[in-house]
């Protein structure tokens, strides 16, 4: 009786896609190793009952050489071997290396079913595998699947019950590799294929010179596309809805609203020249939805679309190679670019994915850098919306300051913290063109995640702010911090409200700056300060969970110091 099913395999062989196919639970998969940082669980209908399915992190062998591998192997040992089934997923295009884990699993007596995934890819590359023969050599069921299209998954499910432990003599390392060599020779046939355009592109993207040109091109085009798609959504969809549909509706409502008291202030906010101004009214029904849906959401959609595309094509590990040099100086290695890029969407998944980094030191540096120097999409969208009006010059300035800050901070942390920078060791996947359906699902999944996380906090946040403003409770904080805000940062003292709100949500905080009618330079300072000061509360909680209290306090102290210094410095340099 099977009580639990485990999915195990080398990194980046498509375990998460198979997992989604088996359980219907949507997990994010990407074309780079180490996407699965959290263990996902789901259920599969097998025979009469439901069986739990567990997606284990990628592992190369049964001898654990990294923390992710340790987790995978220890989870396998949780249940008696006769109560589980192990689905070992292999990359058909790389049989030799993948078989090491398979032999290890069979030798240890696990009931295994071998799943040769990416069969379509193997076909393209001229690799044919004799499944019947492999089955007779290994004495375990072998199936061929293509998880992305779903081919073979059904017959795999049917054969899960056939898994039984088989006895197989234990081999030492050398014997095992020899055995693998023998097996591969018997079952695999290779056809020589000429270099395709794809292989030429794969090669060009890792060469020092052409790679750098390609990287610049990819980053530039991605950036342009994110703006283009975002603006298109705003101009064609959200703005017309807000201004032609929603505003007349609200105005009709306010027309009949005789007494403009507490509730009016809460829901609609202030009228600007007798009219509702979505950017300045600051009501729960006016500014709150406009910030989230009219200014931020379009860019969240466009950013995640482009990021998901780059992820699934498999470009990011190549970018990691090119950036390894720079990141090494910051105490990280090239692979840290993945958490950083995810952090540009939202700092929360960015910091969660620092788990792909090996040491605690690296995770601390990466998390601190992300929370200080990497602005999330909501914040960026608002900065573009506000500061963009004064010219791209200022927006570029914010990015430049943040970039310099990341570099300086990284170099200092690397020097100051004990320990050393670990070395880069990464398998580079080949380019794959992602099926649009999968891309769409991933995008939907991420945008949904954003909405669930952001909308309640924004609505409650604006409500809360309005209550405080109505009863003039902010005045106390304003007056206490006035010397710092006015004297050091050169901002009007009311800007403290925005900085405090920044702890709740960054996009609302920038929204709070809108009615203050700041000059371009003041806005520049305020926006930069919001980016580098304390991260929002969601990020803060994740930092706490990932780093522990002691390191969180250390990180927070760095953040406060850096923002005070930077605010003062910017004020001194550009305002005076």
């Amino acid at each position: 009786m099977i009580k639990k099913i485990y999915l195990i395999g080398n990194p980046n062989v498509g375990k998460s896609v198979i997992f989604s196919r088996l359980t219907g639970v949507q997990v994010i998969s990407s074309n780079y190793p180490g996407t699965t940082v959290e263990i996902s669980k789901g259920y599969l209908q097998l025979d009469a009952g439901k069986v739990e399915v567990v997606d284990l992190p990628g592992t190369y062998s049964m001898e654990s050489t990294s923390s992710a591998e340790e987790v995978a192997v220890s989870l396998l040992k949780e249940h008696p071997k006769n109560e589980i089934a192990v689905i070992n997923i292999l990359d058909s295009t790389n049989l030799e290396r993948n078989l090491l884990l398979t032999l290890g699993l069979i030798e240890e007596g696990y009931p295994v079913i071998v799943c040769l995934n990416m069969c379509d890819e193997a076909g393209h590359r001229g690799v044919t595998i004799d499944i019947k023969k492999l089955e007779s050599i290994l004495h375990v069921p072998v199936v061929s699947t293509c998880a992305v299209t779903g081919i073979g998954v059904k017959s795999m499910i049917e054969r899960i019950r056939e898994t039984v432990p088989v006895s197989r003599g234990r081999l030492n390392r050398e014997e095992r590799w020899k055995e693998i060599g023998n097996i591969v020779e018997q079952v695999q046939r290779l056809e020589h294929r000429h270099h395709s355009l794809r292989e030429m592109l794969e090669d060009a993207s890792i060469q020092p010179f052409t790679g750098l040109i390609m990287a610049c091109g990819v980053i530039y085009v991605s950036f342009k596309f994110v703006r283009f798609i975002g603006e298109a959504i705003i101009n064609k969809v959200t703005d017309p809805v807000f201004f032609n549909l929603y505003q007349p509706l609200l105005e009709k409502m306010t027309f009949y609203w005789q007494e403009k008291g507490f509730w009016f202030h809460l829901l609609i906010g202030d009228l600007i020249n007798g009219k509702i101004d979505f950017k300045q009214s600051l009501g729960v029904l006016t500014t709150a939805p406009y910030i989230e849906f009219g200014m931020v959401l379009p860019y969240v959609i466009s950013f995640y679309f482009i990021l998901s595309l780059l992820e699934d094509i498999g470009y990011l590990p190549r970018l990691a190679i090119l950036l390894d040099n720079i990141l090494h100086r910051l105490g990280l290695h090239g692979y840290a670019i993945i958490p950083v890029l995810l952090g540009f969407g939202c700092n929360v998944p960015g910091i969660l994915s620092t788990r792909v980094l090996e040491s605690k030191r690296e995770r601390f540096i990466a998390s601190t850098i992300i929370s200080i120097g990497v602005p999330c999409v909501p914040l960026q969208a608002m900065i573009f919306g506000l500061l963009g009006a004064f010219g791209g010059y200022y927006v570029g300035g914010v990015y430049l300051v943040l970039f310099c800050l990341i570099i300086i901070l990284g170099v200092i942390l690397n020097r100051a913290m004990p320990g050393y920078s670990p070395e880069f060791l990464l398998e580079i996947p080949s380019y794959r063109f992602p099926p649009l359906l999968m891309l769409g699902r991933k995008l939907f999944f991420r945008v949904k995640g954003f909405l669930i996380e952001a909308v309640p906090i924004v609505l409650i946040g604006v409500l809360f702010i309005n209550i405080l403003l109505y009863f003039k409770l902010f005045d106390i904080i304003t007056n206490i911090f006035a010397p710092l805000i006015k004297g050091v940062f050169g901002l009007p003292k009311e800007a403290i409200v925005a900085l405090v709100i920044g702890f709740l949500r960054k996009d609302v905080a920038v929204g709070m700056l809108m009615p203050l009618s700041l000059s371009a330079k003041q806005l520049f300072i305020a926006a930069t300060l919001l980016a580098i000061s304390f991260p929002c509360v969601a990020t803060f909680i994740v930092l706490w969970k990932e780093l522990g209290l002691k390191d969180l306090i250390k990180s927070a102290l760095i953040m406060i110091t850096v923002s005070v210094i930077m605010g003062g410095l910017l004020n001194f340099v550009i305002l005076r």
Partner: protein, 96 residues
Amino acid sequence: MGGGEIIIAIKRGCVYNLFMKKMSLAQIKANSKGKITEILGGANLQSKLMNMGVRSGKEFTKLSHIGLEGPVVIKVGRSILALGHSIASKIIVEPE
């Protein structure tokens, strides 16, 4: 002169014999082929590399080397691997 060369070689993390044909993966030219003869370094690194298909006796192609002590990209078997510079200098190879 000879002494100087050896000191340079030691500094780069390759104590290996300069006068023989053996050199490290970090030293061999990009776009050349060879055979891995030995892996220096700790047991953990050795087994990690071995699990990824890098072991002595294996033939490889060095695809690229990013300058200024950047990573080395090789093709071993059917996989493409990127190795940090100091790992690459611990892999002793014999050029073809």
